[in-house]
């Protein structure tokens, strides 16, 4: 039993109208990795913002006791001085600057009037080595991958002399390999005596690294689990998060009702080149069939070319020099634009719902009709009544939680945003839906509802292509799975035959060039 490094006592934080944190107690021992889990909006990030001084002392009730002293942080630099460093989910790096410049941004070496660049870069190199990066600190951020950028963030935190490191969803944009490397690095730091708090949705990671797990639900801490004294698995954690036992994370499809029929879409010898680096193949000779009433999973690590494949099929909205054949219901088509794809009853539900899925400043009503304005207008004039009815219909059908369809989409939670995005594409009345990471960043309950929607879609005889980097999800939801690696399909298997092990084996084999 280590010394208590941090204690947050009876923390209560209210926003106008909402109690975000209600009498939260939270203890972290020195030298442990403490995982903070909970559904979206449970209050994890709010708690960490209180701790790091983003919400200054006085805007919350309760005490923060760090290193035996009561702390009253007014701003982030106050907490950083004490060695509490938070790494936010969105990377806060300037792409056009070098690693070294980023690392000491706001904390420059040398004097105010003259930055000492030699010292900057030599120190930066030192910290880079500590996180296992071999890059020179003079390399620009935009020239390294997201995995390495995340490591730079950690190096940056080390440069601030971190004693308590808080990582908010550090692996949300990393692929499996990079995630594992990052978690191993955390374990390495733990050996050296660093204390860490990790916030994450990926429960397998929690089980892998955490010494203790604190579950937050509806603004209060529900329980703290000690991984050394009890047997903790993912189901146990989920039970704490949602407050009930989830017997089945993936709703079953009744195979006697959902019949898999004829081929709806077929992709032959599909090859796509990078739009800027024209000699780089992003999708390499892919062959795929999608049948009526079938959920086809495409599993691959980030950067495998999954999104690029989907977008190139969807009206050539990505890539250059696309070759290959696309057949929809047996007929060869040449889709030159997203509009042409929509007309062929194809829908692509984008991966990044905020970035390229929804217009956040507009209402649910406006977003729902955006891809099918013809359906709610005549001769270019919108029928507002009809548009409203459509939005309400889909809101009820998908059980979107909102006071009204006039609510701005930006105000909704991730899960509800995803539903609006699905509604938008369902309203185009597609036969084939490509869902790109449909459950990323949304909580367990909302995930289940999205899975149910997918099941409803195939029950209606539609085809669903689900792109995902979560193995359990791919295995749990698909009828058939394609495995993609470095632009190529390296395996295909039926869901019954698929296990996490043999899917990973597929990728590893392909990686060795076999």
């Amino acid at each position: 039993m280590g010394r208590i490094l941090l204690e947050m006592k009876n923390i209560t934080k209210t926003f106008p109208g909402v109690k975000a944190l209600d009498n939260v107690n939270f203890q972290v021992e020195e030298g442990e990795i403490h995982a903070l889990v909970g559904e979206n909006g449970a209050g994890k990030s709010t708690l960490m913002n209180v701790l790091s001084g983003i919400y200054p002392f006085g805007t919350y009730e309760g005490d923060i006791i760090y290193n035996g002293e009561v702390c009253q942080f007014q701003k982030i630099t106050d907490s950083e001085k004490r060695g509490i460093v938070i790494i936010h989910q969105e990377l806060a790096l300037v792409p056009q600057m070098s690693i070294g410049e980023n690392m000491f941004l706001g904390n420059e070496r040398g004097s105010k009037a003259a930055i000492n660049w030699d010292e900057t870069y030599s120190e930066a190199d030192k910290y880079l080595k500590m996180v296992g990066l071999s890059e020179s600190s003079r390399v620009l951020i935009k020239d390294i991958g997201t995995g390495k950028q995340q490591l730079v963030e950690i190096a940056k935190a080390l440069a601030k002399n971190a004693k308590l490191l808080i990582l908010d969803e550090p692996t949300s944009s990393l692929n499996e390999t990079d995630s594992r490397a990052l978690l191993d690095l955390m374990l390495e730091f733990k050996k050296q005596g660093m204390t860490m708090i990790i916030i994450t949705h990926k429960l397998n990671e929690v089980v892998y690294v955490a010494d203790k797990i604190t579950v937050v639900r509806d603004g209060s801490t529900v329980e703290t689990l000690d991984c050394h004294t009890m047997e903790i698995d993912e189901d146990r954690i989920i039970k704490g998060m949602v407050g009930r036992e989830i017997t089945d994370r993936f709703p079953k499809r009744d195979k006697s009702i959902v019949e898999i029929g004829d081929i709806n879409m077929e992709v032959k010898d599909w090859t796509v080149y990078h739009p800027i680096y024209a000699e780089r193949k992003v999708v390499d000779n892919v062959n795929m069939t999608v049948k009526k009433g079938e959920v086809v999973g495409i599993y691959g690590l980030m950067g495998a070319g999954r999104t690029e494949l989907a977008m190139s099929i969807f009206g050539k909205s990505y890539g250059s020099d696309i070759s290959g054949k696309l057949l929809i219901k047996g007929k060869e088509v040449d889709l030159k634009s997203p509009r042409a794809a929509i007309n062929e009853k194809l829908a692509y539900v984008t991966e990044d719902r905020k970035g390229n899925g929804l217009v956040l400043s507009n209402s649910i009503r406006v977003n729902t009709s955006l891809a099918n304005m013809v359906g709610v207008s005549s001769k270019g004039v919108i029928d507002m009544d009809k548009e409203y009815q459509v939005a309400v219909e889909y809101k009820d059908k998908l059980k979107t939680k909102t006071p009204s369809v006039e609510q701005n989409v930006g105000n909704l939670s991730g899960g509800n945003q995803q539903k609006v995005l699905l509604a938008k594409w369902m309203f185009t009345d597609p036969d084939i839906l490509i869902l790109d990471e449909p459950t990323r960043g949304i909580d367990v309950g909302a995930k289940y509802e999205i899975y149910c929607i997918i099941n409803d879609l195939v029950r209606e005889g539609k085809s669903v292509v689900m792109i995902s980097s979560e193995l359990p999800e791919v295995i749990g939801m698909s009828d058939r799975i394609y495995i993609m690696n470095e632009g190529r399909f390296v395996g295909e298997m039926k869901a019954e035959d698929a296990t996490q092990e043999n899917i990973m084996a597929c990728i590893l084999q392909a990686g060795r060039g076999e």
Binding site: F314, G315, S317, S337, P338, R339, A341, I342, Y348, T350, G355, N356, G357, L358, V359, L360, S361, N362, V366, L370, A371, M373, S377, G380, V381, I382, M384, D385, Y388, S404, E406, K424, T428
Partner: protein
Amino acid sequence: MKLKLLEVLKKYTMVFALIAVIIFFYANTEGKILYPQNINNLISQNAYVFVLAAGMLLCILTGGNIDLAVGSVVCFVGGIGAVMMDKDINVWVAVAVMLIGGLLVGAWQGFWIAYVKVPPFIATLAGMYAFRGLANVVMKGFAIGVRNETFLNVFGGGSDCYVPDFFHGENLNITCMAVGVIFAIIYIAFIISKRMSARKKGYDIESLTSVVPKTVVICAAVIWIFYKLAQYNGIPAGLLWIAAVLIAYGYITSKTTVGRYLYAVGGNEKATRLSGIDSRKIYFFAYINMGLMAGLAGILTIARAANAQPTFGQGYEMDAIAACFIGGASAYGGEGGIFGVIIGAVLMGVINQGMSIMGMSANYQTIVKGLVVLVAIIFDVQSNKKKK
């Protein structure tokens, strides 16, 4: 209740600011600011601002994109028209050429911006120089008088540019008064029918406590303005053009699919493109429209001055942009509306005129204008911050 009042204040900040400014000038000009003649002048002097700002709004909606060339285009188009009329070419041919000229300029700039992806700021900066130069070439550097009676009457120049009073009222222009009242009645009828259909279909309806004051205020303002105009010479011709433009653009932005796409492109271009909408066409549409409005503004400008000069239109682009931003259009695109543009343009006009009546030098007027724009944007930024 207190919270609600605050919400109303926030939603209509600029309306209240406008009222405050009017009260200020009313007190400091011994009420001169509200003399019928001054209200008449406010409208005719600022006709170009309303017209250009309506066009500019579409550009700004697509993502905070502006058109710096409009001032030069106004001058260029006006120059062409003046030269044509000087050579006794049919007035309607000249008008058509001016409008088409504006449209072509818009197409030229729109092409570079939409299809070649030249940043709008730079594309229109280039246009600002080039069309100013062309205007000089067309007019050979001299002012050209416009004497065509029909042209001046229709587009609000000279002394007779009012809608005639068909009823020959003595001290009050009855036609003008009637138009004001009819307008208010149509507006009320429109609101009532909308509410009734919404209730029938079971939609959420705005509460009476918010609809009634809003309707009363709008109708009272309209009737009052027409009453003032009726005390002077009646409806200025320029007002007809302003009304036509504002109604048309109000309709386009709120009721049509094209209008919806303008907002969507400004809100999230990628999402819009992946929804099967050709965003290039939307940018192109916005700039072609801007060109058309610049053409119309050119017509109104040379009609009002009864001549065309190579220096015309300088700073017009800034007035239009300022009116949009003061009226609450977002500098990042996707937010704003015609109602805001009207408030923004009127606010600037009132400030200009109020200071002129008070006898302040034009130099100070420019300073105040600049500060007003800044304050408006600060409001916008602050209220956006609170939303998050």
